[in-house]
């Protein structure tokens, strides 16, 4: 397989415009002859479904939750970036592009990122027109705030619920099309296989989660918007149903998986506090606008935080990175928290936490201002921890949050399977080795509103598609595979529950493939995962039947895929013999313990092709060419 | 007129009809009470008030028909709502608790409504559809309240009316869309005061007539 990113030539700023002109078009009258399947209804899937239907395509949209409004994009808190420069701070498309490439530690495609920065402004326009109540200043114009990795205020926000508001905007556009009959909506469906005929993605197999029925749906193209794989770590900020299954089954059908080892660990989450815990809760990065991160200077200082005098506190981010201070990118902030805790300076019962303190901000601006900005976040913190962050500093610790890696896609967002498009967090393309805050929402909506609607037309207009129905033998084959696997899971009848396996997998991943990695640990982790995978298929206990609403069975299928995927993630981490962004291999660091890239040997995307069960995946390399930015040691000092 | 049926037949339309007719009854009660208070000035004042009222002739008939019309709407719509709302939750909770939104008034609205309907029928039989030849309205009223049973029924009915009004009055404003954070506490206050006035104003009359005159 030869990976071709299909990046248009010419100067960076004109690539997308010219490419759009060169793309073949489907005439309005012909659009209704095409059927497109969209899987997932987050920002990417919701916006893509609505936009495609508006254009006239027939869309079938699937989601795993009971309503498309519940996709996990809804939980994004802080905001969405755009290069509007409303604040007159010298922001521009170029600066947003540059910050994103640099923030991603130079492991993203220039052309994709530039396009992202270009359409960022259209996104804000579209969202305001949809009635999204962004925060405004007294003059009635849009307000902005700062986020990590940037020195301009370019983040638009709706309190601490920006993701919710943007998602509900896309959802309402989708609902409008459902009402108009252009989108057929299938909630509570889980995609279990993708059907490839003559090398083209032509449909999917799903399980109806209520009745257990296996359903087949044929189409002319398939769009996967199924989010990230952070739950491979069991504990993450992802929703309980976030999983890798759809992406992984596509991988097994020939779509390459790119850079799976780039997994973002978010610095500001509520620390783990018990072995029963089912998920971690993020505290928005926007809190770092006003909160100051510190630990006691002396290891083991167990005094109450307010009793520790200023002179005995170490504001380590401000001290180490004077120009960005508390607003360094996430990977840098997370690694520094870990470093402090490893030195024994961690706080709280477990010693695995640092303080995020609002005392100064409250003194400076008053409690009211802070409450208006972060009220709902403070309230959420108090609900979970029973501590009042207005009075005592928050305790935070890094947690798995976002997957920069994902299915490999070209400039058209098409994977290595023709007709299979991958959008949003599920693809790999825009964030490199580390995503900047408030950029995930931007990318999801850019892909769905402003990229796919053009590129999918180019594909459909330029491809000959055989007429097929869901009666095609390839569908029957897929259904059989899916049924066999479900039967197998139900028949093992072992002694350990699905969650038990998942939790153990998470521990292995966190211990050996977490914030800081080394070859020895990765190898050990891989072995442990293989053993766990074997035990899973002999000893898992899945109650109930397949003809029914069976949440244990749903989870079993997902954990089975996580177990296989975890190995791929480790293989990727082992292959990348450098440190960059979220991937920190202890063998490659500067004297100051910063990540040390190896641009000579690793300035590439690692794309993995499935070679068969229990076989090493095939490695493909997409060289990254930087023609417009200079590769430099990332510095936030 | 399709649009009118569509608008009034919707759930909000039905609310609107309940609110407007309810508000009409509140106005009627206020007038009725003002008239009744003349009783404290003695039987002549009361009788002359009644005569004045009857001298209005066709106007009073019109008002009566209006009230009847309002009553029919209020009763029929209320009954429909009661039935529909019961149907909307066919299977009830085994534990019922409330979060402090419901009041005794809101909780009992349909039931107090039906009690008041029965009371009004009785009230009309007592004082309206009664042979008034050779007697004064004061004598009829005084006669009726010589019976302690009647006194008890009337006092009870007025307490029920107050409960009904305590929810109904502020509810009218909410339904009409007049809810503003600045004024709602005041409206809710008026609601309580008005229901107390009705309870005391009307409720004390039978007691006064029976035991204090």
């Amino acid at each position: 397989m030869q990976l071709d990113a299909k990046i248009p030539g010419g100067p960076l700023a004109g690539k997308w415009d010219r490419y759009r002109f060169e793309l073949k078009l489907v005439s309005p009258a012909n659009k209704r002859k095409f059927k497109i399947i969209v899987v997932g209804t987050g920002l990417a899937g919701g916006s893509a479904s609505a936009s495609l239907a508006e254009l006239g395509y027939n869309v079938k949209t699937f989601c795993i939750q009971d309503s498309p409004r519940r996709a996990h994009s809804i939980a994004a808190q802080g905001g969405i970036n755009a290069a509007k420069n409303y604040t007159n701070e010298g922001d521009s498309i170029w600066r947003l592009f540059y910050d994103t490439v640099k923030g991603g530690d130079f492991r993203a495609r220039e052309a994709n990122v530039y396009r992202l920065a270009q359409v960022s402004n259209n996104i804000i326009d579209q969202c305001v027109a949809q009635g999204i109540p962004f925060a405004r200043d007294y003059g009635g114009l849009l307000a902005n705030r700062s986020f990590g990795g940037s020195q301009v205020q370019r983040t638009f926000y709706a309190r601490g619920q920006t993701g919710q508001q943007l998602l509900l905007g896309a959802y309402s556009a989708l609902m409008r099309q459902v009402g108009a009959g252009k989108v057929e909506m299938f909630p509570r469906r889980e995609m279990l296989d993708i059907v490839v005929i003559n090398g083209q993605a032509r449909g999917i197999v799903v399980r109806n989660l209520i009745t257990g029925k296996i359903e087949t749906h044929a189409s002319d193209a398939v769009v996967l918007c199924t989010g990230g794989y952070g739950n491979v770590f069991f504990l993450s900020t992802n929703a309980m149903s976030s999983n890798v299954t759809a992406a992984f089954r596509a991988y097994k059908k020939g779509a390459c998986f790119a850079n799976p080892c780039f997994t973002q660990i978010h610095p500001t989450c509520i620390p783990v506090h018990g072995s029963y815990q089912s998920k971690l809760t993020l505290m928005s990065e926007s809190l770092r606008n006003d909160g100051r991160v510190w630990v006691p200077k002396n290891p083991g200082d167990k005094r109450f935080p307010r009793q520790i005098p200023e002179s005995e506190r170490d504001y380590y981010l401000e001290n180490k990175y004077p120009s960005f201070g508390n607003l360094v990118p996430r990977d840098v902030a997370s690694r520094n928290s870990k470093e402090q805790c490893d030195m024994g300076k961690g706080v709280g019962e477990t010693g695995l936490a640092v303080y995020l303190d609002f005392e100064d901000a409250i003194k400076r601006h008053g409690r009211d201002v802070i409450e208006k900005k972060y009220g709902n976040l403070f309230q959420m913190y108090e609900k979970i921890t029973a501590q009042n962050p207005y009075e005592t500093p928050m305790m935070i610790y890094p947690a798995v949050h976002y997957a920069m890696g994902g299915l490999w896609v070209d400039y058209n967002l098409m994977s290595s399977i023709d007709g299979l498009f991958v959008l949003g967090e599920a693809n790999f393309s825009d964030h490199g080795a580390n995503r900047l805050g408030a950029s995930a929402l931007m990318q999801g909506l850019a892909d769905g509103y402003f990229v796919l609607p053009y590129t999918i037309g180019g594909y459909l207009a330029g491809t000959s598609l055989e007429k097929i129905t869901a009666g095609h033998p390839a569908f029957r084959e897929s259904v059989e595979i899916v049924n066999n696997s479900i039967e197998k899971l139900l028949s093992i009848n072992g002694k350990r529950t699905v969650d038990d396996f998942h939790r153990q997998l998470g521990h292995i991943m966190w211990d050996y493939c977490g914030m800081s990695r080394n070859d020895e640990g990765l190898k050990k982790g891989r072995k442990l995962i293989q053993q766990l995978g074997e035990e899973f298929w002999e000893n898992v206990l899945v109650p109930g039947s397949d003809k029914d609403f069976n949440q244990s069975l749903e989870r079993a299928g997902r954990v089975a895929d996580f177990l296989e995927f975890a190995e791929l993630l480790i293989i990727d981490a082992l292959a990348r013999k450098e440190s960059c962004g979220a991937h920190f291999n202890e063998a490659y660091q500067t004297k100051e313990n910063e990540a040390m890239r190896d641009d000579k040997n690793f300035c590439h995307v690692s794309a993995w092709e499935f070679a068969g069960k229990n076989k090493e995946p095939v490695f493909h390399k997409e060289e990254l060419k930087f023609e417009n930015v200079e590769l430099s040691q990332r510095s936030y000092k | 007129m399709n649009w009118l049926a569509g608008t009034l037949g919707s759930s909000i339309g039905k609310k609107l009809m309940m609110a407007l007719t309810g508000l009409g009854f509140c106005g009627f009660l206020a007038g009725h009470l003002a008239g009744n208070l003349t009783i404290y000035w003695g039987k002549n004042a009361f009788n002359s008030y009644a005569e004045h009222l009857h001298s209005l002739g066709p106007l009073i008939t019109l008002a009566e028909l209006g009230l009847l019309f309002f009553a029919l709407i209020h009763i029929l719509t209320g009954t429909t709502l009661f039935y529909q709302n019961l149907k909307a939750r066919p299977f009830r909770y085994s534990v019922n608790k409330n979060a402090g939104g419901r009041t005794i008034g809101s909780r009992t609205m349909p039931y107090t409504g039906f009690i008041l309907l029965s009371f009004i029928v009785l009230h009309l039989i007592n004082f309206h559809f009664v042979d008034k030849t050779g007697t004064t309205i004061y004598q009829i009223v005084h006669g009726a309240f010589a019976n302690p049973g009647y006194v008890a029924i009337y006092v009870f009915a007025m307490i029920v009316a107050a409960i009904h009004i305590s929810h109904g009055f502020w509810s009218v404003f909410q339904t009409l869309g007049a809810n503003h954070v600045k004024y709602m506490p005041f409206i809710k206050g008026v609601s309580i005061v008005f229901s107390l006035i009705v309870a005391l104003g009307f409720g004390f009359l039978p007691v006064y007539l029976a035991y204090m005159v």
């Binding site: 579209q126 402003f450 | 759930s11 909307a88 939750r89 419901r102 909410q174 709602m184």
Partner: protein
Amino acid sequence: MTKTINLTLKIWRQKGPEAKGKLETYKANDIPTDMSFLEMIDVVNEKLTLEGKEPVAFDHDCREGICGMCGTVVNGRPHGSEKGTTLCQLHMRHFSDNDTIVIEPWRSRAFPIIKDLVVDRSALDKIIQAGGFISVNTGNAQDANAIPIPQETAELAMDAAACIGCGACVAACPNASAMLFLSAKVSQLALLPQGKPEAARRAVSMVREMDRLGFGNCSNETECEAECPKEISITNIARLNREFYKAGFFSSEK
């Protein structure tokens, strides 16, 4: 060390939409009070699974109070008795040792039960389909700052837009009415200049759809407002009423 408590749970079990359900009693012992309510059910389910029984089906997803997927009636209160809290954010520290907790699904004709505590809330999506949107195709928009919107208006719209569509208002309403849910959407869009062109049509068709779906009628009981995990105010219902009258009596909407 965290405190632990022992609980008796009475959980509604129902095999399917047509099946007859009943409350079953389970023990949940040594529950740390730092645990969330859903994690407590997880623990019970793990135990049931290992005993060879079927675990309790319940909806949940983000577990941080925003997706609106979770929600059951706990001791007669949707999402439990803490104010402004979804079930996933309710922590066991609000319960005492030896408490008995009755857990039931949302009950409404418009929300048929799928299994145990899981209900079908697609009726809420249908209400949105009837008009809970602004008709702006992708690419149609003008510059985001072209129309200034007073901060107060944007904040009011945001208050309404905070709705997570969990259905607790329906579950809490003595009449199983969806007025608070509906009014939150109508309010948000009616407040904003972008929503004005379609305001009349939106109000009329969304109310019609709600009535058609078998929800009850609002009778201003205000239980919805008291139980809403996002504390959405009934002033939105008043605004919906105004919008509906405007549309019904003063526009050409039928």
